[in-house]
Amino acid sequence: MHEMSIAMSIVDAVVANAEKEGGVRISGVELLVGKLAGIEAESLKFCFSAATKGTLAEGAALVIEEPEGIGECGECGMRFPVTFYYAECPKCRSLRITIVSGEEFKIQSITIEEEGE
């Protein structure tokens, strides 16, 4: 289950950032997980709550935004939605497609609680 080790790296990263900012608790985490990033959002959510146990991020609300895949044709330059790594250009039928969006895998933001504020 590779989402578990991924969830653990996310927890490491958000906790490091929260500590750096003087947070005592992390109440929210926003992720950007492209539809083509090779990550199952559902399974990541499940692993995330397990991975946060006993850390500053325990109980944090996880929000995952999933940008759609967009391909660009290498022949005619047309951009169109894709759901997979390969696709055919709807305009010129070329198979030389480059993915320009949908592979994102980022921590967008965290929300931290500070003591006595």
């Binding site: 991924i6 900012e21 997979f84 790594y85 980022k106 967008q108 965290i110 504020e117």
Partner: protein, 289 residues
């Protein structure tokens, strides 16, 4: 707890060497923050982010991002790559390899596709012209490192324990423990798994994905991320083609659909068929990388 040294155990990866039963080095998963090799007793300090002091106004730039207040809590925009830690370290590995003219290959496949067998066959062919070193990744045992050790090349085993892939930190540590010569080829055999090793850059020059004819010709479609990330694909066990239902052309077509830059080779580690073509290609890349 580590059963070799009794240290408080971290569940992280451990480096081992064939024929040196008391040698082992822990690689802690907390990135570089916490490395403690037991072999020489050295213990690095934990790395922390540089201290930063700031007064909180409503909103201001902060370390590339910015943050603002929202009631009693504070939202901090990070826009940070999840795999940033790994990617940074992978780039350091890459810089090290380039500086020493080491050509590093990351071998990826399902368990049993023949990664170790292919290394056993190709290394003796290449070794005559170029020094070779190997990093073996497996959850447990030094079996694969032992097989490579028998060829007389420097090899180190990374046992990932519960981990299902190698990461840049493990390779960074392994490289320091391994005697790699300048101008050489470094083969890194990843843990048998077609899913997450695709996401973890190790600093290699090329990713080599291996499938065997016993696995089904739709494998590239089932594991598109891996085939999309790979630079070359080796179809192994072609000696078994007469006995299995496997459409080579179809498999190749599926792979090329996922990645139109993919180099393609068909070999048998058992009979040696096709190895000469792959060897030729490798030798050309070794000269001109």
């Amino acid at each position: 707890m580590c059963d070799t040294c009794g240290c408080s155990g971290d569940g992280g990866a451990v480096l081992r060497k064939p024929g040196e039963s008391d040698y082992h080095v822990h690689v802690n998963p907390g990135a570089e923050k916490h490395l403690h090799p037991h072999a020489d007793g050295e213990h690095r300090d934990h790395d922390h982010f540089p201290e930063e002091h700031h007064d909180c106004d409503y909103m201001h730039d902060h370390d590339g991002g910015h943050h603002y207040h929202e009631g009693g809590s504070r939202k901090i925009v990070l826009e940070q790559d999840v795999l940033q830690q790994n990617n940074l370290l992978a780039e350091r590995n890459r810089g090290y390899f380039e500086a020493r003219n080491i050509f590093a290959l990351n071998f990826l496949s399902s368990p049993g596709s023949g990664k170790t067998s292919l290394l056993e066959k190709i290394i003796p062919l290449l070794q005559q012209r170029i020094p070779v070193a190997v990093i073996e990744g497996d959850q447990q045992t030094t079996n694969d490192a032992d097989r490579i050790h028998a060829l007389g090349v420097p090899v180190i085993q990374i046992n990932t324990g519960s981990g299902c892939h190698l990461d840049a930190l493990m390779v960074n540590r392994a490289v320091k423990e391994l005697d790699i010569r300048d101008n050489s080829l470094l083969c890194i055999e990843n843990v048998g798994n077609l899913v997450c090793p695709a996401l973890f850059d190790l600093g290699e020059a090329l990713k080599v994905v291996i499938i065997s004819v016993t696995e089904g010709d739709d494998k590239p479609l089932k594991y598109p991320t891996m085939f999309h990330e790979a630079d070359l694909c080796i179809l192994n066990k072609i000696d078994l083609l007469p006995y299995v239902e496997f459409d080579v052309a179809k498999c190749r077509e599926n792979a090329m659909r996922v990645n139109h830059h993919l180099e393609w080779f068909e070999v048998s580690a058992t009979t040696g068929e096709g190895l000469a073509q792959w060897q030729q290609w490798l030798e050309k890349r070794l000269l001109h990388h």
